[in-house]
Amino acid sequence: GTAGVSNTNSSGTGNGASGSGGTSGQYTVGFAVSTTNNPFFVAMENGVQQEGQAKGVKVIVDNGNNDPSTQMNQVQDLIQQKVNVILLNPVSSQSLSSAVKAANQANIPVITLDRSVDSGKVACYIASNSVDAGKMAAQQLIKALNGKGQVVELQGVMGTSAERDREKGFDQEISTAPGIQVVARQSANFDRSTALNVMQNILQAHPHIQGVFAQNDEMALGALKAIQQSGKSGISLVGIDGEQEAVLDVQSGLMYADIAQQPTQEGKLGVDYALDAIKGKSIPTRVNSPLQLVTKGSTFKGF
């Protein structure tokens, strides 16, 4: 599975919204995370847990295993447990709408992280735009290739929103550079070892590619191994997520760029706004956490 698109800008360190710690001992926040099969969401969960501890809030975490109906069930369980706020990182925007409606009926505020839902009342949506992430990646590739050459796109799990949106943004932007040709689009399921194999095969079919866009860092890291093992050089690789390993590879020049998000911060922000919501403070309905571009020389840390 993979990240949706969230981005955290530098201001998103939880300063804006925190209730003062210690006053909230009895509050419970339910966090329904789409999956913990991916470092991105593990980091998000860590953020939620850390901030919960810091603010003295009890946190209940449910892992949806990327299955909408499992997550729907978990939201129901959270409602059943009468949590004060639900932090929802939905598996699917469409499918979790009914879960949000159920929470609305039970008068439990819902804050969505990284992805939102299509209908139902959401108190606050903390994320960035997946389409933008795709666009930024395309811009980096265009820059790296000086506007001409062959590129390939490694797709995530077909049918997931992250896959669709990143592809959409990438396609829109890449088409602005007529000199660039997307010679292959293949799915590697957001998975590192699959990406290694798929990239090997693509290199076989298209030995002259100059750029690779991987829809997440796991695939970028797999593709990097394939490129390294093929002995080819001069292929620019761009990923999305801001995973520590990928960020390090960008800084050492192995990858061209990474479009980073800060899931830890996003999780922290979620808890902070949750406390505000409990206390009846007004909170913004949309918190935009901009994407962080990581290129060689940047000092960004990653998660």
Binding site: V59, I60, V61, S69, N73, D77, Q80, S92, G159
Partner: protein
């Protein structure tokens, strides 16, 4: 007394004891667990897997297996939802979905029964095929904007019992009657016990084999309708991995993968054990990193209770 012992053996009450212990432990650990609202949730959350598991029981009793249920579910519900979204009558769309499920099962059954291919590999192939067709049909996008009336079916209740639960209960009762009381059911057991002997006794083995896969496909499509209606959308990735849950429920319920042995009540218990584990781990707020380990241990513990049965594998 003798009859009682026979009943335990015959209907595999081992897993039931496991379920009861699990319920007891969870009631002690969480005061929210044994409330009407929560048990209702457990039942609701189990309903989709339970529907699939009934069909899987039929298939496994013939020593077959159906790995394609999750994909059949996705394909049939995508098509139903697509028709609904384009304003076809809800009932008619649902019927078309069920017909698609039946067709998925029919193809499996024909390969297994008439081409005499191993069910595992046939349904593995169709699992991939039906998933691919779903992706092509939906272009990878979820189908939403379904009529409200349809959504109510999955989220409504009668006498505060959710409609999917009632549906699953009906299917279980029907399944029980069919397997344990009808001549059809006895013949299914006979085929699973010894296909060749059944054939020699004049059972039209091929038709029966086809029929169990059709039943499985139809129930997968019904499960798909429940799921689509609960989520108000049909996802191209819906049902991924559900085959494993359904098979687990069946096997946990004491049915042998080698066919001919087992009972549908066991399947119900197996499905409930799985549902209760997930619900309980959530209620107790077990760290998600520990959940898998604990779930694995509970499954192992549950089958240990069924040891005697398993002996006669």
């Amino acid at each position: 007394m003798e009859r009682f012992g026979a009943v335990i053996r015959r209907y595999h009450l081992g897993p039931l004891i496991g379920l009861v212990i699990l319920l007891f432990v969870l009631s002690v650990l969480s005061h929210q667990f044994f409330t009407f609202g929560n048990l209702r949730n457990v039942a609701l959350q189990t309903s989709v897997n339970a529907l699939l598991a009934v069909g899987m029981t039929f298939v496994i009793l013939t020593a077959g297996i159906d790995l394609s249920v999750g994909s059949s579910l996705a394909l049939s519900s995508a098509i139903s939802a697509g028709l609904m979204a384009s304003h076809l009558n809800v009932w008619l769309s649902a019927l078309v979905g069920i017909a698609v499920g039946a067709a998925c099962g029919l193809l499996n059954g024909v390969f297994v029964a008439y081409a005499r291919l191993a069910p595992f590999i046939v349904t593995l192939g169709t699992m991939t095929l039906y998933r691919g067709l779903t992706e092509i049909y939906t272009n990878g996008n979820p189908i939403f904007n379904l009529p409200n009336g349809f959504s109510n079916f999955g989220s409504g209740s009668v006498l505060s019992i959710p409609i999917p639960v009632i549906l699953a209960a009906l299917v279980f009762i029907l399944g029980w009657i069919t397997l344990h009381r009808s001549t059809y059911g006895r013949r299914i057991y006979a085929i699973g016990g010894n296909e060749r002997v059944a054939y020699l006794a004049g059972v039209p083995v091929k038709k029966y084999l086809v029929s169990v896969y059709v039943i499985s496909g139809v129930l997968a499509s019904i499960a798909g309708l429940v799921l689509t209606s609960r989520l108000s959308s049909a996802e191209p990735t819906a049902g991924t991995g559900y085959e494993l849950d359904a098979i687990t429920a069946v096997v946990l319920g004491g049915t042998s993968l080698f066919g001919g042995e087992g009972a549908i009540l066991g399947t119900l218990v197996g499905a409930l054990i799985l549902g209760v584990i997930s619900n309980g781990l959530n209620l107790l707020n077990v760290n998600s990193f520990y959940q898998d380990a604990i779930k694995g241990l509970i499954i192992l513990a549950a089958i240990m209770l069924d040891r005697k049965k398993a002996n006669s594998r």
